[in-house]
Symmetry: D2
Subunit: 345 residues, 4 copies
């Protein structure tokens, strides 16, 4: 019975868009961002956003948080013993930190968050993982922790090394609230004139649309911790171009656009609490990925630990550009389809 | 100022896994499924799932529903006139059907779902779109409907051609409840012996894990309409291999695993209410995509309208294989990491 | 072993607040609304909202929808037969309507919404129930339908007469999207001068607060289909004063405040998609309830079927008053606590 | 213009049900629980649950966590300064603890959880509040903290003293994940014989129903962090009988039933992460409330700080009784309606 058969690689069309001008604590730079996608209208649309933010002086980016998590699941005979175990495990946190360090040079245990339902213990273990996205590092470290726990609490039973309380590639509220991946905020102030000239709209129209579509519309649709038009599109294109575990756009899609009038101009921001990227690990050895990471200057061995931050910031800035451009287009009835049909000819 | 620069295509590694044996109303077949992904452990894991379901007699697949939606947003001076407009628009549904038909040979207006908040009208327009995933067809048809409405109700103002009540590439409850894309259910009964021999586990352990991880764990994580371990991974790999608008894995990830004991064996099912795929449209003209669609026999011009159904069913069956294999692995402490580290060497 | 022991009734403090001036399609009136609550600061706060809306010309109320639902749960041997059964049940809808009519003079089957997960059939049966809130009427009618289905589809098994897909007194997205209870929208335009004089704030401040607290804050908290400050408080007070099944404030709490500038004034609206009230049924025979319903003119036997509508509209208007007043207070640092401490002395 | 008019109190029917036998770390006791409700079938149904758990040896209760929270909202000129402020505020936590202590004898600042979206700072302040539910204590303490922050960071602007990130009387994921109120777990093992004799069902049927109704059905309905049949009903009845701020059943309703087979018997648990009750504060001075709290022995001045714990545990145990009884009834087609119609005659 056949099982696995080699195929030539899938060839996803790519273009570089930009320059995007970025002002961050970590660096200030102008970058050309590779977007790999079948949805070719994304290119000119994101490029339009890049251009207008460039002319506005660039995008300010702030990295707020960085961690990777894995949740493990254990069962006690009853809630009372489960509660005792959680308390005791927390008291042994220092020891568990060394257990983690022994599993990898780069992983560090940051925090243990627990939840107790019936006699079931959900432990969400949070790590720093250097330049790696950290899925495997977190799983490996968590396996060591599971083993330590099972050895030390003989009344606990193993249920799972991954309990959907992490949570990976699934919709949740927990990732945003407790953090998973890199939390990046991007901001720009677009003068009214640039809005009019390049986006064919006004600051007021974009503010109004963001409230009624991204906030209210998502609320009515039963969305959860999300308010944006199409973060997922640009995030996927960056992830594919840079060799990421791209199914993480599921949680990546859960981000927030906030806009308001700033005097007469447009304050426009995109907050992405769950960017999951690495500059090392699975996929990074592929040739075109290396080229893209090099071109983005995200492969600097003298700067270990900061490459993934730079990449997350770049991805977030590209997302802002794509979002700004689409929202502007939607304020103009007819423009959206014109753009699409023009591109696809 | 540079804007767009050509790049060689991104090369995503692909393998064919299978054969997956599928029994559906539409067809019965054995297929080899291409998975394009950087996450190479997905290949042997999904292949293991394929093998055990093959030996169990194959996967039964049921396509329940197929539609594409776009929501438009209009504003009335007050709720009373908004309510009147909704009533009147619904009475003109037949007329709107012809408006849609004039926009495309393949689009048909199936249903109008409305929601009224304050004086804001959210209209979710639902279409059938033939073999296309239907994003653009639905947008184009909705634009015609917006124009018709604005001409006929002069007290309504345009707000947006897309109102996040659709909803595309965002987390929601509405897509599952009202339908968007293809709703496919896959089922298999795995005899206890096969569980033991190929999955190194028991039916009881998988049933138990599904409850505590997929149902309870997701619930605690604040998930919404989702209960699975990693639907997104396999769905993305199939989408990329077949030229889909792959950011639709966001809603694709919102699916449900249900398992129970069936006598002494394992009933295992994966329900995917939001598979969004097409055999025509953006991306399908790329050479490797054509080859993959041909190999899957999803390019049959004598069977127009059914190619996308076939593709959705195949994708769902691959998802079941991947899910079954990962859940089985998680019931065995240690197996998961062994598999990963073996693969990545 | 003791089981049940009579107690004197619980005495919940009540006050009448108002007059609230209401302009609805169904009636225009000024009403004094009884609020039963231990939270005494609710009285002056809601009264302040009533006064300012009164001076602004009254609250416009629009009733959009009215239904009660119950979901039943059946299981087929596999998804294919489940799909067949759903199709066939829908084709027999006319017959089921007569089954329902036979169960009650007042219940009518409006719609059947189905969802199929694995081999499980969730049928959400929607009814009109006259002046009753309709819980029992819907359950009784659904029981008849269950029996009819089990008699006619021998391959289906009973799982539950209530499947949380209804859903009663639980958080959901489905109730808002498909409707359960009475969907009422209330609107008022508050002139800037009244904002300043009675609410000590400006229209702009309330609009801004609503976006950042009710929309964004709720989104971040992982709320679902809800954006308000304290609908639940006022709704509970009205429900208790009028003999309702008051745990229905759980879904009642899931409503939306939308505000925007209207020229220089404040457009303020509260949308409550899930008000569940009746003027007949459990609790309505209690003496103080009768008095309150009479005082509200919601006991008009010449107007059967409209009493519950009137009551829902009144409840929604009271909610708007309470919401407006609290939001105004929150725009003034310090006012909230002053009010509370003043009251509680 | 009339504003507020006294009314005689609302008279909600009450009965004592029980005895409920409770085994907790804090105490072991048998209690009769007052339930105030218009829904009279709740009494015999909950009493049935009490009886069977009594015969099974009683309910084990575990209190896991106790806190009250209030979120404040501030705005910085940009995300970078917002990030700085959050960091600096956290470094001043010790000082803020003294600010809180000065506001009340009973309030203590436990934790500060922050979230940064655009330039908006959501600070969720968590407190212990002794025997009070703590709404006002938390608000008062948070007002002091707001003032301190505004004095010390002149670049921050006040937005709101309450930002829906708390969150009070609204649906959320955050309350369960981070904690608000008292998190109580109740467990009981019901021997098969008692299931059969008093509940007319089997352990297997209840386990099966819980999965398909409470877990799957809620998931499909778009529920969030909730899996139960009617926690809200019993919780409301206890809250009303004991003078609580009863709109807190909104978050109280978000709890989880977990059941599984334990050998041949039924392990049944109800986890309520958000019970919000106090034995002092608003409403507790009312005469019947005092009587009820005394009868429950929740007014022990020698045991300050523990009265509210005892009350939360009692409420949770009553909830388990009600839940068990209703789920059992639902496994028997027909029983539910018989019970209702019998009662209501």
């Amino acid at each position: 019975m056949a099982k696995l058969q080699e195929l030539s690689p899938a060839l996803i069309p790519q273009k570089l868009i930009g320059p995007i001008r970025i002002i961050a604590e970590e660096f200030s730079d102008e970058v050309m961002v590779p977007l790999a996608t079948f949805e070719t209208p994304l290119w000119p649309s994101t490029a339009r956003g890049a251009r207008v933010t460039y002319l506005a002086g660039g995008i300010t980016a702030t990295l707020v948080r960085d961690k990777m998590s894995r949740s493990i699941l254990l069962q006690a005979p009853d809630a009372r013993r489960a509660k005792f175990a959680i308390g005791d495990i927390n008291e042994n946190k220092k020891l568990l930190e060394t257990v983690v360090t022994s599993s990898s040079r780069f992983a560090n245990l940051l925090n243990i968050h627990s939840e107790l339902i019936a006699n079931l213990i959900y432990l969400r273990l949070e790590y720093s993982t250097g330049d790696a996205a950290g899925h495997n590092m977190a799983t490996l470290a968590s396996e060591k922790i599971v083993n330590w726990i099972l050895e030390n609490y003989d009344f606990l039973n193993y249920v799972s090394l991954s309990a959907n309380y992490c949570t990976d590639k699934k919709v949740s509220a927990i990732n945003g609230i407790l953090g998973r991946g890199k939390h990046v905020i991007t901001e720009v102030v677009i003068p009214r004139k640039l809005c009019s000239r390049y986006l064919k709209t006004t600051p007021e129209k974009i503010v109004d649309l963001n409230i009624k579509k991204n906030l209210l519309g998502t609320n009515l649709a039963g969305g959860i911790r999300t308010a944006n038009a199409h973060f997922a599109n640009i995030l996927l294109a960056v992830y594919l171009a840079t060799g990421q575990d791209a199914a993480n756009i599921v949680e990546g899609s859960q981000g927030i656009v906030h806009t308001e009038m700033k005097n007469d101009d447009l304050y426009f921001s995109a907050t992405l609490p769950n960017i999951i990227v690495g500059s090392v690990g699975n996929g990074k050895e592929v040739e075109f990925v290396k080229q893209n990471l090099n071109q983005l200057n995200c492969n600097d061995i003298d700067n270990t630990g900061k490459n993934a931050h730079r990449l997350a910031i770049i991805a977030a800035c590209a997302v802002l550009c794509g979002e700004l451009s689409l929202l502007a287009a939607l304020t103009n009835p007819g423009e959206l389809m014109k753009a699409h049909t023009r591109m696809e000819r």
